[in-house]
Subunit: 277 residues, 2 copies
């Protein structure tokens, strides 16, 4: 499978970065993961906006314009014949000397890869468990998608050990923040809710799409801070994430979560949107 | 300059990792940086203990025993003829598929590199500025040296923009935690102090060596939580870090810090220890 690396399409054996790439040294970079459906990267422009915002925050350059990255993605999809896939775009501060302080002038590293679309045997609903790992509350780094993802990796390992599919991360104040791979929604008295991103949740593109869907369905979603205890009493719990879309949660910490017809409606609307040409 | 990579000594052009190395994808790994003096990696065993503790926490394997890593370091120093240098050891979870959950079985990536010893023109004392970036308080990840170092990178960029040499990071409770590259000590009424590592400070090996030195000098160092305001009234402020050892702080947020003879004594004892055969 061809990989886009710094201006070239290369075979996997040549898809390598030097060991002094700052992405490898310190996680000094950003990434985005999104769905490709019908040959088209879904909502690519929104992911690229977040990437650009992240790069501004890290004082890093993205050496390709959004239009160029879209064209590159198109060629990558075509050359690999993968119209239905997951696309990952990584941008790091590039090679550098040892030491936290970046030296100016190094060209950033840009990698774009395609991955198999979600397997058909992906569970239709998930077992979610609350993680012992927490994310900071009100940290500016929470609002961009950096390569510093150890809390999310560790939360997933812990969830897998408990036989669960996904982890729920609280923030340092003990409030619900996000799942390892996305955002969390629930239904309370017929209305959808999610937590404010200020709770330490990444502002997910799928989250934004679901907010649009709720608006269009005439049930605008609210933002509400919620403690894990209160989450035990909600219905229609679901996660949103780029790779898998809207995934209902069947069990939270082992206890069944009552479903809500609204969740199915939102999941259906999302699938339709993804399938649109 | 030769690089040790996964069992081989390779020239820089071959010192590369695949773009799907989890160190590059998610910062899913650990590193150690230490001083080589007189051909000998200083206190290597202590760094390797921290690495091992980190690997246990991340549920990762280190595929070489401490003795093997020490032998590899010796060969790297000899082959590169760099008896006075800085050594970096990186261990990641190795190549993997996209997705936070690690798949079992992938061999970890191990990289060992040598870097020029600190330049002779390194300032003898530092201008330190308080960073707007914070580290979590009481986070288990703070006690191991992971590849997730963006807060430290950003703090350094900010410090450089302010014309300073190093950044002071507070924790999420607003207490003094650490510097971007090390730990902080000060002298109060003739006695050295540092903050407890529970404040979010990495348990530095140079910090541990300085605690030993204080003991030997008959002035055992205390551990004390301190707010940035109180730091304005101390004397003999200094940082400890692996690459540069004990570095006095001349200015904190632009204000001169009164020196203490104890700082010079500790710095001298550290230099002697480093020079010991």
């Amino acid at each position: 499978m061809l990989v886009f690396l710094n201006g070239q399409f290369v075979p996997p054996a040549r898809a390598v970065v030097p060991v002094n790439d700052r992405g490898f040294l310190y996680g000094d970079g950003l990434f985005e993961t999104l769905r490709v459906a019908g040959g088209r990267p879904f909502r690519f422009a929104q992911y690229l906006q977040r990437l650009r915002r992240g790069a501004d925050f890290l004082k890093m350059e993205v050496p390709f314009a959004a239009r160029d990255l879209q064209e590159i993605a198109g060629r990558l999809i075509e050359q690999n014949r993968m119209p239905d896939a997951i696309l990952r775009l990584t941008v790091t501060r590039g090679p550098g000397e040892r030491g936290y302080t970046p030296k100016p002038g190094a060209p950033p590293t840009v990698v774009m890869t395609l991955h198999a679309a979600p397997a058909a045997d992906t569970p239709a609903s998930w077992r979610l468990v609350t993680s012992s790992f927490r994310v900071p509350a009100a940290d500016p780094l929470s609002s961009i998608k950096t390569l510093n993802k150890l809390p999310h990796v560790l939360a997933r390992i812990e969830a897998a050990e408990k036989g669960a599919d996904e982890a729920l991360l609280l923030n340092s104040r003990g409030e619900v923040a996000e799942t390892a791979g996305g955002n969390l929604f629930w239904v309370d008295e017929g209305r959808p809710f999610t937590v404010p991103t200020a709770c330490g949740a990444l502002p997910g593109v799928t989250r934004a799409v679901v907010l649009e869907i709720c608006q269009a369905l005439g049930v605008p979603a609210g933002e509400r801070i919620i403690k894990p205890d209160a989450l035990q009493n909600v219905t229609g719990l679901f996660t949103t994430q780029s790779a898998l879309g809207v995934v209902p949660v069947a069990r939270l910490d082992g206890r069944p979560v009552p479903p809500s017809p609204l969740t199915d409606q939102i999941a259906g609307a999302y699938r339709e949107m993804l399938a649109q040409p």
